[in-house]
């Protein structure tokens, strides 16, 4: 590195905090690569320009990942996109499904955007910092932004938005993310363009919680009072033209947008209730883009020459839970045996057509930066499984029910699991319910999901593992279908959540991963990729594993 460069780096390093400096050290030592550094640095609030300079410190052997060179698309035209139909009314506060959030993100925006690499990009926030405890986070809000109805946006709207979302009386879907993290009233506008969050406890991953990953957190005016589905109010680049419930939305350019105008002139978003119809839609040229498709519903698109598929890692997965508090899974050896009987290779290569990572029976997906990579991957081992069963007194096998829901490839997964474990004399009786019946009231005692002895549940993507570590696995977790109660686990998770630097996070993760491999209350067979399909003449579509689809830079060649 040149002298001048080195001086610039030193200057920056003097101003940034201890945690941030640790991160640079990791980069220099080659323990993380450039991409992870950029990602981690953005979370901590380092500005883009600083990051750019500091990234020059990367150890020489670390490979750079450069994006493929494609011609920029021409302006104009109408982009037609197919998305999964929103499951319920379009209310930004209550939305809890992928279709809903995709629509939300067209005309409304977040403080921060979490992209497909889980790198954070400032949007309505310009920059952010945290205090040394990690409890107080301060965000600088962008100036010159107005909502689609003309009212200007200030930090007061931001504060109102987050106080609304963290208010238990409002009952937003975002509460599951803010529980124990941010309470109502703790978001303040200290001046018109600065918002400050005082958290309940230190949280190293907080910026993700005000990003597009926390999809309910679109910034809305402080006097917002409902009726979003009539106006599609927001600060985004697209403005509502017309909305037909159950059918689709069409947008035009937002003339008041603060940023670059959209490449295409118009955007038509079509809702598909069935994935097969969506697949046919893009093949039959009814839509140009399919925001998200799965292997089970869109296998035809993977090999089709007219469609270009973009894929990236996500943390979407399936959880196969086993009740740790009753027979036959009370003995952890039986649970380990089940996990050893799973042929994960067949699942990844066959069921998911290689479009997936292996799961190692913990929420730590390979896509998370804090995942400890040194923990060994569990493999198929029928002989050991049989030994464990024998030791637990179940050498002759046993019979129990496997419950799941009709969703994507879950019924298929259930059939494969049923088959895999049958070699050890284990007989699983399948019961496949519709989603409403499977989840029931989502309360213990009146929910087949939470009461079943063994079940398979679908979990969508999250940017950080925090929620996945607590809700389904901690002693008081509301989604703890395995009824797993392990104080040591709870403690380790608390350490992880509070850790601010990557090293500490990884260390805590490693311990958690090992504990879960030992106890195996839940099997995580895979984390599948996020697949987007676009016709060859379309480029510039950006999707995220959450299900957001950014069409502002999309256009025709």
């Amino acid at each position: 590195m040149s002298d001048q460069r080195q001086r610039q780096v030193d200057a920056i390093r003097r101003h940034i905090g201890e945690v941030e400096n640790d991160l640079v050290d990791e980069l220099v030592a080659g323990r993380i690569d450039r991409r992870e550094f950029l990602r981690r640095g953005s979370v901590l609030g380092l500005s883009l320009s600083s990051l750019g300079v500091l990234a020059g410190c990367a150890a020489p052997n670390v490979t750079r990942v450069s994006p493929p060179q494609t011609k920029p698309p021409k302006a104009g035209g109408t982009i037609r996109t197919g998305i999964v139909a929103p499951a319920a009314a379009l209310d930004p506060i209550m939305i809890s499904d992928e279709g809903g959030l995709a629509v939300l993100g067209q005309s409304a925006q977040y403080l921060v955007w979490s992209d497909k690499n889980l790198t954070l990009r400032p949007v309505l926030a310009e920059s952010w910092t945290h205090d040394h405890t990690g409890r107080v986070w301060t965000f600088k809000i962008r100036r010159g932004v107005s909502f689609s109805d003309g009212t200007p946006m200030t930090a007061e709207d931001v504060a109102a938005t987050f106080n609304r979302l963290s208010d238990p009386k409002v009952g937003s879907n975002a509460l599951s993310n803010f529980d124990g993290v941010l309470s109502k009233g703790n978001t303040k506008a200290i001046d018109p363009y600065t918002a400050q969050f005082t958290l309940d406890a230190p949280n190293g991953n907080f910026p993700y919680l005000v990003s597009s990953d926390n999809y309910n957190s679109v910034v809305l005016p402080k006097n917002y009072d409902g009726g979003w589905d009539k106006t599609f109010l927001g600060t985004g680049p697209w403005k509502l033209e017309s909305f037909t419930p159950n059918q689709g939305v069409s947008y035009g350019r937002n003339p008041r947008y603060w940023g670059q105008p959209t490449v295409a002139e118009r955007s038509e978003v079509t809702f598909y209730a069935e994935e097969q119809a969506q697949t046919l839609g893009i093949l039959g040229n009814q839509v140009d883009v399919v925001a998200h498709y799965s292997v089970s519903g869109g296998r035809a698109l993977i090999t089709n020459p007219d469609v270009r598929t973009t894929q990236f890692r996500s943390s979407s997965h399936r959880q196969i839970h086993m009740r740790t508090d009753k027979e036959p899974f009370a003995d952890k050896r039986v649970r380990q045996a089940m996990a050893l009987l799973l042929d994960r290779r067949a699942l990844v290569n066959g069921l998911l057509a290689t479009k997936s990572d292996y799961g190692n029976d913990s929420p730590f997906a390979p896509v998370f930066q804090s995942t400890n990579q040194s923990v060994r991957q569990r493999q198929l081992n029928v002989a050991m499984a049989k030994q464990l069963l024998e030791a637990a007194g179940k050498g002759a096998g046993f019979s129990t029910q496997l419950l799941t829901l009709t969703h994507f490839e879950l019924p298929d997964l259930a059939q494969v699991v049923q088959n895999d474990v049958s070699v050890a004399g284990i007989n699983l009786k399948l019961s496949i319910l519709d989603p409403g019946s499977y989840y029931g009231s989502s309360k213990f005692g009146t929910s087949p999901w939470l009461d079943s002895t063994m079940g398979i549940t679908d979990y969508g993507h999250r940017g950080v593992p925090n929620l996945l570590l607590t809700a389904p696995l901690s002693s008081k977790g509301p989604w703890n279908a395995a009824h797993f109660r392990n104080p040591q686990y709870d403690q380790l998770v608390a350490h992880y959540v509070a850790a601010l630097d990557l090293g500490a996070q990884r260390a805590a993760a490693g311990k958690i991963q090992e504990l879960l491999l030992d106890e195996t209350p839940v099997m995580f067979p895979y984390f599948y990729y996020f697949l987007t399909g676009a016709r060859l003449n379309v480029s510039g579509v950006e999707t995220t594993a959450m299900g957001h689809v950014d069409l502002s830079r999309a256009g025709f060649a």
């Binding site: 319920a88 009386k169 009952g171 419930p245 159950n246 046919l280 093949l283 039959g284 409403g436 989502s442």
Partner: protein
């Protein structure tokens, strides 16, 4: 005649009321909480309780039924629980869409079926008859959803001459809309053809063997004229009666076709409402399909009872 109609109408209304009771209380049997279904399994319990209160789903079943029935009389079908829009705005456009599809299918299949049936009857026992009868029969036994997929594969994907969905882009002209409806209509045609042809064939054979036909031929009328004037007229009526009965099936029963073609007809509305446990939409949609079915049955009965010997006497001249 008028007494007959009045009586049938009266009975029909009673049936309709029974249907409303059946449907309303039938759907109450479904487990699962309405608000929970809307907000999803991972939403907070307090949000669920708040929404339930807002929707009025915490009141007693009888009260809810009464509210619903009184609403119906005022033309208010209620509000969809899933989309928070009025049920009428969902159900009536869907009904119209299904009707469009049904009408297109009828326009194709009725003349085709009658023609096929009459031809088969005229060549009774010979190859042409066998072809039409057995071919028609085989076509009807293939489930509609199989036809849907096969047609999409052949016409939309391999040949690329027709669209793979039935929903034309908004603002399309009349002809474009027809273009989008051709494939699903074709599925219906295949399913109904054998049926109508069989009825027409039976009716034609019967009237061919009737006395008045022989009389006409003896009197020296050319065979063609006999067929046209007497035979066709009499084979038409039973066919019309069949067609009227099929209307009920068409409107409500083509869920599979509408699903595969992503078409917002009443069948798909029913299916979705049932899956989402959107009771207001489900109840109103079933009731409407019931009304269509009952009206169609009434018309069919009427048409059939007009087929009394009176008409036979009239046509011999």
């Amino acid at each position: 005649m008028t007494r007959f109609i009045a009586k049938r109408l009266g009975l029909g209304l009673i049936t309709l009321w029974l249907l409303s009771v059946l449907v309303f209380f039938g759907t109450q049997v479904l487990p699962g909480d309405v608000a929970r279904r809307i907000l999803g399994p991972f939403a907070s319990p307090s949000a669920v309780t708040a929404l339930n209160k807002q929707l009025g789903t915490d009141k007693s079943v009888f009260v809810q039924y009464l509210n619903w029935i009184t609403g119906l009389f005022h033309g208010d079908l209620g509000t969809s629980v899933a989309t928070r829009t009025s049920v009428s705005s969902i159900v009536f456009p869907a009904l119209w869409h299904s009707a469009k599809l049904a009408i297109l299918a009828f326009i194709i299949v009725v003349p085709l079926g009658i023609l096929g049936g009459v031809l088969a009857a005229l060549y009774e026992g010979r190859f042409r008859d066998r072809l039409i009868s057995v071919g028609g029969l085989s076509a009807t036994t293939v489930p509609e959803f199989v036809w849907s997929v096969v047609f999409i594969l052949v016409f939309a994907l391999w040949l690329g001459i027709l669209p793979s969905t039935a929903t034309a882009p908004p603002g399309s002209g009349f002809l474009t809309q027809i273009e989008y409806l051709v494939l699903p209509a074709l599925c219906l045609v295949f399913v109904l053809f054998g049926y109508i042809a069989r009825m027409a064939r039976a009716g034609t054979i019967e009237s061919l063997e009737a006395d008045y036909t022989r009389t006409a031929v003896i009197k020296g009328l050319p065979y063609r004229t006999v067929v046209r004037r007497h035979v066709l007229r009499n084979s038409l009526l039973p066919t019309i009666a069949v067609v009227a009965t099929q209307a009920g099936y068409l409107i409500g029963g083509l869920v599979a076709i509408e699903l595969v073609f992503n078409y917002q007809g009443i069948g798909q509305v029913l299916y979705r409402a049932a899956i989402q446990k959107d009771f207001p939409v489900l109840q109103s949609a079933v009731l409407i399909v019931g009304v269509v079915y009952l009206v169609a049955t009434l018309l069919a009965d009427l048409a059939y009872s007009l087929l009394n010997p009176r008409i036979r006497f009239e046509s011999s001249s």
